[in-house]
Amino acid sequence: MDLAKHWRLRGPRYRLEGQRHVETGEVRFPPEPDAGASWEQYDLQGAGTLYSYTVVHQTPDGYAQPYLLGMVALAEGPLVTAQITDCELAELQIGTPVEMVTRKLRDLGEDGLIVYGYKFRPRLG
């Protein structure tokens, strides 16, 4: 059931927990294990713009068919690939301001976990 894997990833998945270099201020996501003393934990704000996007029609088992997939340029610098939710394809264009939301990524069945993680949606308001 990969319980340990999902548990380890909860920080990055739920709230974009990344890392920041203590001297240069560089922010990276996802965080790397055993990063050493030069990198500190840093939660990204989740604001960004759509760098590119596509529609995934041939989806893996357990995913909605089709779904929107985007590359999001986060305000702090990192580029993140994630599902785009709460919108239609026609509402998107390159440069659309988006924000992170925590949503269900997978439902592993009646005897399995519900896996939560980040997606992005067009910024509200």
């Binding site: 739920y14 909605a64 509200l124």
Partner: protein, 347 residues
Amino acid sequence: MKPVQQVGIVGYGAYIPRYRIAATEIGRVWTGNNGGVPVDAKSVPGPDEDTITMSVEAGRNALVRAGIAASALSAVWIGSESHPYAVKPSGTVVAEALGTSPFISAADYEFACKAGTEAFTASIGLVGSGMATYALAIGADTAQGRPGDALEYTAAAGAAALLVGPGAEALATVEATLSYVSDTPDFFRRADRPYPVHGSRFTGEPAYFSQIRSAASALMQELGSTPADYTYAVFHQPNTRFPQMAAKQLGFTPQQIATGLLAPKIGNTYSAAALLGLCAVLDVAQPGETIFVTSYGSGAGSDAFVLRVTDAISTRRQLAPLTSAYLARESFVDYAVYAKWRGKLVM
């Protein structure tokens, strides 16, 4: 009931899913629209949403308005009748997503539609006793009604979060609260059953109206106040008509409940319903105005609260999306999509 120390709502956050289904679309499938409908539309959670995800967004909005870090919270309490797991707390997932310290109390409350105000009452006690500085109370639900049942027209989804903290930092201070409960079997769902059972007309007078009247009138009597003393009133809203009737029975005017009456547009958001109405009022209320809130939960009981809006509301309410922003982004789905998303198709 009043806390030892003055407490108030230092931040609040609403969440309503983007999707709606028109009540006449449900009526088209089940009755050919032969008869009236209890609301215009209800909110429908998207396929990637549940009580936990909605609680996270409402909680984030409340934290932003409060201007405090999640690490300052001492409790994350979530009231719902649709916790995603039967056993595994919603509270720990939400706390992790908000980024709280692990040294908090996290718990799930259950009391049909008033589980959220139960969490609010407990937060008032925790902060008001001096045990904690900040506590987060959330009411959230993705309610289900049996296909074709009267409940299906209204059983909706939404979340509202109230961050309770010191009165000096509050957007609205808690003046007093009171709870009233009785063993009334108007609505229930047995373990492992997908849909609840309700007592039709029995859900009205002996249940909803009796508990709301008892709690609301007892609180006003305790405070020596009358309905005319309050700027706004919010009642639990299982449909459009019940809160209108409850208000009339107690002596509140249609104008007093208009701002907080969201059920016509989004249906009954269960544990979030009264709290979302309160959020909509806080979105527009002016300093010095007063709000009378009464929830209702089947089984049954009501929690009543009196709140007074402070000067801090003017600058802080703009820090997160207003309830109206969530109400405005409505996107309608048909019954087939709704049935698929809500797991009503058994294969």
